[in-house]
Subunit: 350 residues, 2 copies
């Protein structure tokens, strides 16, 4: 069994460098080199001791390379992936793996035909905030959870490179893909029964600079997923509602608070003045019927991602991010765009 | 011109008492009496010096009474309103005025035929938080506002009287009616082009115990309106997004904060670690490109409501809450229910 696998990189931008730095620390992976279409990036790679190939072809023909990571702009993932698999290399694509189910099917068929690894880098499955919410859900900590809201709010517009143009730009592809994948993973076997989405175009006409999407699942759970790039005040990152309590996660590390009802029957409600009216329904709870405490942030260890890749290359494991998961995620992204374009609730089950 | 108008009250519950106490302070209104179907309530009225009639008929036949307020459970508004107008009285109905457009049309026709005042008590048009947001919108304080989110979150379930049963119970009727009316008022001449709504049934199967609704207007502005009764952590009451800034209102009085961008071109963004990834897009802004300050809460004077009623009775003014506004609001509520029932985006323009 091979103990060290040769690795190549296509696309040496910010994420390419992220992979390079992480993989440099591993004993079971040998860094062979990278190729970027931009000569300036190749110079920077060389200056960091990362060999720069003179072309993608040269890289793909290097027999030392067992697998590659593709970290180019999104519209180039497919061609590089297929060329690499045909050249006998395993492939990790940056997310989104591609922009259409048809393209993805070509890639998957190529993987099946060549027997090469083909997967995608959904690194945010290891985000501590996500894992913290997943634990709340799996352990039923808030009573039956009926609503999960997940918002990533920024205020800098869409970054000024390929992310702000078609094809492949915009926030659904850039950030939505992570949040949607997390939702699908957390919900496990449950099916989506409807999708309603609306995109924003505040600072960018060509691509979406944010979106809001509401999903219903077959077990009655609703999700709201929202990305924005024009919100100068942020709403909480995660907001989770259960029958007996609520949770709010404020940061990527999973820190936040949980508020549980301790006495449902507590009749402490007295009408309060609210604006120019009175309300008993909306009277805040008093301390004697609720219990508030911090969340227990979960740990996420992203190195599991490449551990799994090595295990797959050694034939010891199956890939964590499967073809079926990739298909479902791409289909979901297509449905978000379709709903927003038609301004309709799409009631497909998947 | 009559200087003092006789007032009667049908339904002496919490809101009935609210009207009674407020009107007791006015010189231009003479309190004649009330009728409640529940003898206990009549006893309480008498103990407060409010004459209790022995029947609605007796009250409606009292010639001293010029106009009445109806503060019964919602399903009784229509019959009392029509009987009162036919008896020559002006009518103020508590909200929601009624539960269907058909019923409302009967009431409006009766008003037109009899020439009697017929309006509804949408008191929350004077809520300071609403007026604060309206001012932000009208004065374009945040740049073009593209999204307004209005949430009233409680955690006590639906109050345990007629509000928790059909017909006429539930949170769309109880609270939604206020928030929807505020939205229509704030948006002025602009039309709704689509509605998507989802109801919750967490603590109550018979009536909605909360809802989320997303509205699009013909000028591109989107609204989210949400009422809940099972949220132990509250999201901000109002959340308003403009092209150049955001606002958050935290209480009914309109207190909150505004955050404006002062330097759009500021390139201070450096990628930050976010979970197991890096992000430049979502890097928080640093202080040198934004300016944060408190809101300027607006004042709301609800006494204008009955000032207007007296002016209308004197023939000096037209009613603030018009038949056309009532029709549009009832139609909007019907559309919210229709969207939720069908789980569809309703694309009607109104």
């Amino acid at each position: 069994m091979k103990e060290k696998f040769g690795w190549g990189l296509i696309g040496y931008g910010g994420m390419g460098n992220y992979h390079f730095e992480k993989l440099s620390k591993r004993d079971d992976i040998e860094i062979i080199g990278e190729y970027d279409i931009n000569p300036e990036r190749n110079k920077i790679a060389e200056s960091k001791g990362l060999h720069a190939f003179s072309s993608a072809e040269e890289l793909l023909n290097d027999e030392r390379i067992d697998f590659i990571t593709i970290a180019t702009p999104n519209e180039f993932h497919k061609d590089y992936a297929i060329r690499a698999m045909q050249a006998g290399k395993g492939v990790i694509s940056e997310k989104p793996v591609t922009m259409s189910s048809e393209e993805l099917d070509e890639m998957i068929k190529c993987s099946e035909r060549t027997g090469r690894l083909f997967t995608v880098h959904q690194n945010r499955r290891w985000d501590p905030c996500y894992l913290t919410v997943k634990k709340l859900y799996d352990e039923n900590k808030l009573g039956r959870i009926f609503r999960i809201e997940h918002r990533v709010h920024g205020s800098r517009g869409v970054p000024g490179d390929w992310r702000n143009r078609q094809p492949g730009g915009g926030m659904v592809y850039d950030w939505g893909v992570h949040l949607l994948d997390q939702m699908l993973m957390l919900m496990g076997e449950h099916k989506i029964v409807s999708v309603y989405a609306t995109l924003t175009h505040i600072t960018n006409d060509e691509v979406d600079d944010g979106f809001t999407a509401l999903f219903k699942f077959d077990n009655g759970v609703e999700w709201i997923i929202e990305i924005s790039t024009n919100n100068f005040i942020e709403l909480p990152l995660w907001y989770v509602l259960g029958e007996n309590g609520s949770a709010q996660i404020d940061d990527w590390d999973g820190n936040g608070k949980i508020c549980m009802v301790t006495d449902w029957e507590n009749k402490d409600a007295v009408p309060v003045v609210a604006g120019v009216g009175l309300t008993k329904t909306m009277a805040p709870r008093t301390d004697d019927s609720i219990d508030e405490y911090p969340t227990e942030p979960a740990k996420g260890d992203w190195t599991e991602y490449y551990d799994n890749i090595v295990d797959v290359l050694q034939g010891k494991a199956t890939q964590l991010i499967t073809h079926a998961q990739q298909r479902r995620l791409v289909k979901l992204i297509e449905t978000v765009f379709k709903s927003a374009e038609l301004n309709e609730t799409i009631k497909e089950v998947f």
